[in-house]
Every structure is written in structure tokens, then in C-alpha cells.
């Protein structure tokens, strides 16, 4: 196949579609692809599927500014055109904000992400509460909870999955906390577990995934664009 290309793009999930499950999101994108007439590459076999991959599932109820996907196309599309064209067909609440052509042989999307930056807006607490909580957590090297999985319950140490709290700020009537935490198959901090660590109920908080990164030491690099940063806990 000549002229094939892979486009990696970053998209947002807004309040209109906040309560869609990961499967709902995949379905919505699949249908948008068809409406937009994107020239997708299909897998071989009895039931050919478009060759796509998405970043780690966002929990139901969370918003996001940084979801990612790779689409394999059978034509070489200009990423800027892709962004503009696809946005016209996406449902309200989803928006592609960045798109790039991926060089051949680039690592898979999943291997490019192991950390997420979350914004959690907590009603009815003070910055001091959160700060105090974080200080005591920092002193511990383990925070073990029971995690329910499909194969039964197991003990998980949550402490190493929380990388840090770069921001704790007072807003009107709420506190906004930014947390860096593990995401992906190597280690994943669930939102309800983040709630356990920081003492909040995820159903009462507004949670936004601000970014997804590959963390190497204290360097955080996004899978798209040059938006990386270095961060270490003081």
C-alpha cells in the first residue's frame, strides 16, 4: 500500500458527553468516521475493522482535555485538513485540538503513556485540608487497599501510583487540585482510589484529565507536540 499514513490526534471530552462510557466513545467516533468519510485502513480477515487505537479509557463522568488516538488511513492526509474535516462530524462535546502525521515505525500509543495529570475540583474542603493530607501521604511509602478485579480481590499499594500534587488552589467554594498519577498497564490509579488517597468522593467532584504523558524520571513528555515538562515534588 502506498500513500498510507497514520495520524495521531489529541481530542477533548466535554460536559455534553461526560457520561459516556469508553465503549460509547469508541462507537461515537466510529460513526463520526463513517459520516466524515475518512479513508480508513481496515484489518484483514472475516470481519475487517478499521485500524485505530485509543489512549487509556477515561472513567465515566470525567472530562478530558487530552485524549489521544492513532488512525491509520489509506491516503496521505494533511493533519491540519484532517483536524478541520473530522471536527465537522464529531458530536458536540468532542473536539480534535491537535493532529500530526506519525513517522513509520513510531511506538504504539499505549507505550507512550504511563502518567496522567488530573484536575479535581472538590467542593466543601479547604486547601489546608488537602495540603495536610498530601503531607502525611508523602511521609508514607505505602497505602495499601483492596482492589476488586475481574479475577478477584488483591492488595494494591496506591502510594507509588500517585506522583505528586503540583497545584492546590482555592476557588470560589471549592478547591482545585492537580495530581500526577500513574495510568496504563504498568500501574494505574483509579479515580475512586485517588479519592481514597485524598479523601474525596469521586461522584461529588468534577474531574478532568488535563494531560497524558510518558514519565521518565521527573520528565513528562506528551505523545503529541512538544508539550513536555519536568516536575519533582518539593
Amino acid at each position: 500500500m502506498t500513500n498510507t499514513s497514520t495520524i495521531r490526534f489529541q481530542f477533548t471530552k466535554g460536559s455534553e458527553v461526560r457520561f459516556l462510557s469508553h465503549l460509547d466513545v469508541l462507537r461515537a467516533f466510529e460513526r463520526a468516521v463513517r459520516r466524515a468519510g475518512l479513508p480508513m485502513a481496515y484489518s484483514e480477515g472475516f470481519s475487517p475493522r478499521p485500524i485505530v487505537s485509543y489512549s487509556f479509557p477515561l472513567p465515566v463522568g470525567a472530562l478530558s482535555e487530552a485524549e489521544y488516538a492513532d488512525y491509520r488511513l489509506v491516503e496521505d492526509w494533511d493533519p491540519a485538513f484532517f483536524l478541520e474535516h473530522f471536527n465537522r462530524y464529531l458530536p458536540p462535546g468532542f473536539q480534535v485540538v491537535q493532529a500530526e502525521r506519525l513517522p513509520e515505525g513510531s511506538p504504539a500509543l499505549m507505550s507512550e503513556i504511563n502518567a496522567a495529570l488530573w484536575k479535581v475540583t472538590l467542593p466543601g474542603v479547604s486547601p489546608e485540608d488537602v495540603e495536610g493530607r498530601w503531607q502525611s501521604l508523602k511521609a508514607q511509602d505505602s497505602f495499601v487497599v483492596e482492589r476488586q478485579t475481574k479475577r478477584g480481590n488483591r492488595q494494591v499499594n496506591l502510594r507509588p501510583l500517585l506522583f505528586g500534587l503540583p497545584r492546590i488552589a482555592q476557588l470560589e467554594g471549592a478547591v482545585e487540585v492537580h495530581c500526577l498519577a500513574a495510568v496504563g498497564s504498568e500501574g494505574n490509579l483509579r479515580l475512586e482510589e485517588l479519592g481514597l488517597l485524598l479523601g474525596f468522593n469521586p461522584a461529588e467532584a468534577v474531574i478532568t484529565r488535563l494531560g497524558q504523558f510518558k514519565k521518565v524520571g521527573s520528565v513528562y513528555q506528551a505523545p503529541l507536540g512538544n508539550r513536555g515538562f519536568t516536575w519533582t515534588e518539593q
Binding site: 457520561f19 459516556l20 460513526r31 481496515y42 469521586p202
Partner: protein, 617 residues
Amino acid sequence: MDKRLLPLLPLVSKPARYTNNEVNAVHKEWTEDKVKMVLAFPDVYDVGMGHLGFKILYAIINGRSDALAERAYAPWVDMQQLMSERGIPLTALESGRSLADFDLVGFTLQHELSYTNILKMLDLAGIPRRSRERREGDPLVLAGGPCAFNVEPLADFLDFVVLGEGEEVIHEVLDVAKAGKQRGVGRREILRELARLRGVYVPGFYRAVYAQGKFQGLEALEPNLPTTIEKRVAPDLGALPFPEEFVVPYTEVIHDRVMVEILRGCTRGCRFCQAGMIYRPVRERDPEQLKEQVAKLVKSTGYDEISLSSLSSGDYTQIRPLVKELIATYQGCGVSVSLPSLRLDSFAVELAEEIQKARKTGLTFAPEAGTQRLRDVINKNVSDQDLKEVVQAAFQAGWHRIKLYFMIGLPTETEQDLDGIADLAKQVLAWGRQYRTSRKRPEVTVSVASFVPKPHTPFQWRGQDPLEVLQGKQEYLMERLRHPGIQFSLHKVEHSFLEAVFSRGDRRLGAVLERAVDLGCQFDSWDDQLRFESWLQAFRDEGLDPKEYAQRCLEPGDPLPWDHLSPGVDTKFLVQEWQRAQQAVPTPDCRWDRCSLCGVCFNLKVANKLTEVGRGD
């Protein structure tokens, strides 16, 4: 969406049921000059979103600049509880406004077990249940759909009812509602004008008369009312509008695909089947028009499946070329074609092969009865030979799983007929072993429903078997179908019993319905929600015996609560069919044989409309 629901969404199952903002949802500006109608489906979003009728009406109403249509569904029990605790009314998805703010609240009556949900939805919206309790400023509550043909159990709750096809009469209804609104006339005056429209029934203008606990007839309470309300029917489907866009849900719903209606009506004449009587005559849509509709819908929705829907899709005269062409056009972009209702004939297997080239999942056939004799009684014109051919063809073509639908409790049924079901299932399995080409072991699933007498069918007079009898028959079958390779699935007899009660019910059941809702009954068609004990209590509390409705055998000539609601089929024809049934004499399909004199074409000035001369089988 109503913003007040937002904090509740993290607390309920399937929150995407309540969030709106789907692709192609229509949000019109809420202005005083518009007639506002909410299409209210008396079940959850995931069930209601599959309903084609509402998609059609949504497009028609929103196509008018002087009207708007929105959607509402029954919230699931978890959400209802939270809404009640917080005093949040039932709202429409698009504007988030209470149902009580609309001019018209329109329910669809798809089956009898959804009636409690209608009352529940009115309760949740704060709309008085009973028509006579509603005041100026309250919406007009209407209903349509198949159960409108005996709407009497709901007579107290509905301001008016539309019989038959809605595409044309909806405009007349909106016009009357709009004019009434502009002139500021009262509800009663608007209802009087609505009662003048063909196909519109205003139950409150009639009174039911009973003697010795039996229904005697209806009396008009106003001058110039029709004694019989005849259904609306369009002679040519091609002249009716069809949506170019469907609202595309995010969460999984039933029939989540492009649907086009290839034909309406069925004249096969199965004697238990209400749809086969009330949707006559047969009208096929032009294949060119269908292809255009499909193209527009695939483009506007992005669905990966096209369903050619009708009561019996294999009967469409040009089904073969249509299916072939659609497959050729769409398979390249991963869009498949499906035919939901296939009749049992070898042609069906050829069609299914066309469609399921790669994945031969399963084939479903409905012989309905286990013996040739009983199939002749019900006029299911399928012979033992047909059955053999079709099943062999299916196994030879590579299918390994066959599902068979049967009904028990049919008129004249004997033990032999039940044995026939078991024998047939085993025979199919044996054919499977003999003829299969698939590596997989043949499997047969037998699904058994209980006969429910339906108004306007030749079996309307026949009472349903008592619950214990039906249960006994189920057990009898279960015993005989305990066999490796055969799976057996049953419909709860309690469901079929309540269905029979309300399908043949009269106005007195309104009180029972209300009582049942007060006792917590709703979502009665859901296995895990049916509260049968509460239902029995509701009947006791209102002093009515449900068995009288479901099980009593009536005589032709007895006054029936639905006598005044006409699908155009003559009672004379139904009586004749009832007699032929008892003699096990089949009646051929008038599409390919002589006219069966059902009366529809003569009464309603319509005729069967096929796109090509019949395929002559």
C-alpha cells in the same frame, strides 16, 4: 437536558440515557407561537430509541416552522427514586422542560404491559392522570400505535387517540392544536374539533354501558360523533415523508441501526396476529426511493448496519435485487444489511446467505405450531415439506444454530400438537446432524410463548388458557425437550395473562391500572420488575376478576369493548376466519391468490400496492 439531573448522573445506571446532545437531535427555540409536542415512550431510553414510528413523527413535526417535537422516556427505577426525592419532574431530553409545559404529550402504545409506565410518567411530570382532572393549561395527552385499536383500558387517561397511520393526521392534529391555542379556546372545544378529524377518537365523549357486569356498548355524550372511528391509512407510502436523519444514541439501544420500511401491512392472514389485521393493506415502497433513503441515512448517522424492516421482509417483491444492490454498495465501507423478519421458506435461506456471507450466526424461524393441522388452524401456511427443505438448506449452507418460535395455548390445541413441537425440534436437530456443513455441532433453540387473544383478529373471541394450564403445558414441553443440543426458553405466563387481560379489556380496567401503579407496578414487561401479586391485589381491590377478561370465551355477536375502533376489517370476515380455523381450513394470501374479502380495500378505499407482479410461489 434538565440541569437538575446533572448531580444525579454519577449515581444512576446508564447515565447516558438522560444526557441528550446526540448527533441529529433537534433543538428548536422554545417560542410562544409554536405548538409543542413531546413524543413520550413508555419505557426506558434504550428501548424507546429503537422505535421507528417516533423517528418519523419527530422529523415531520420538527420539519414544521410552527411546531417542535422533543423526546421523553421513562426513567429507570434508580433515577425515578432520586427525582422523586428531589422533586424533579419528568422532563423532555432536548429542552429539559417538564412534560407539563408542552401542548401535546403523545404516547405510543406498542404493547399492553407498558400501560403502567404511562401513568407513572404522567405522575412524574405532575400531569393529572385522569383526563377529566386536567385543567386549562395542562397538556392534551394523546396516544397512537397498535394498542390504540383497543384503547379502552386507557380511556380515562387519554384526552384523545389516533387510530392508524400517523404521518398525515399529525398535521391535522397540530393545526387544530395551533388554531385552538391562537384563538384561546378551551380544552373541550379543541377536543370537539379533534373528534371531527378522521381517525381521531375522544374517549371522554363516550360512556360505556354495562349490564350484569358485562360490557354492552358505548353511548355518545355529544352530538355528531362517529359511532365507529376508522383508522387512517395512506394509499401510497411513497407519498409519505421519511426522515433523512435519525438521532444517533451514544449508549447501546435496541435497533441501533439505519432502518427503512420496505413495506407496510401483511396479508398472510395468520389468525392470531393483530399486526396482520390492523396494518392492511400491503403497500410496498419503491426500491429506488428506498435506496435514496438508505444513502441519506447512512451518511447522516454513520451507522454500520442497514435494516430492511417490515412485518415480513421476504415478501417484498423486489427483495432480492434490493438486498444485492445494497450489499454491493455498502460492503466496501463496512456497512452490513439485515432483514429482521424472515418467513420460513427456502427463499429466506438464500436471502440469509446473501447477507451473512462471512458470519453465519443463527437463523430464526417461526413455525408457531407443532403440527400441520394446527398450522392450518392458525393459517400459518407452512407445510412439513417447507420446513424440511428450509432447515436442510440452512444446515447445508453452513448454519449450525436454528431458533424456532412456537406458541402454546392456541385454539383447538391438543397434546399431539405439543408433542409435535418436541418432535419437530428433535427432527431439526437430526437434520442438522445429517446435513450440516459447519464444523460446529448443530444447536436448536425452542422459544415458546403463550397465545394471547388480540382484538380485531379471528381469535379475539377465544379465551386464553388458564394460567395453570399454560404452566402445565410449559412443563410438559420442558420434560420432552430435555435433550442434548436443544435449548428451551419460555415467556412467563403471568406476562401473557396480563397482556390478555388488557388486550381484551374495557374501561373498568382504568381503576385497576391506577391501583396497580399506586402499589408500585411499572415496567411490567421486564422479568425482574413484574409484581404479579400486586396486580392480583389491584384487581381484588377494584372488585374485578382478571380471568373474566383473559379467559372467557366470547361468541361472535357479543358486544366487544373495541367494536367502535375499526382497522377496516369486517367482523363478518373475522367470523368466517374463526369458523374456517375450527375446520382447519387455510385462507390464502390475497396478494397472490383471490381476494379473501376482509373488507379493508372496500371500506378504506385502498388496495394492495406491490412494486412488481408477485413472485408467484
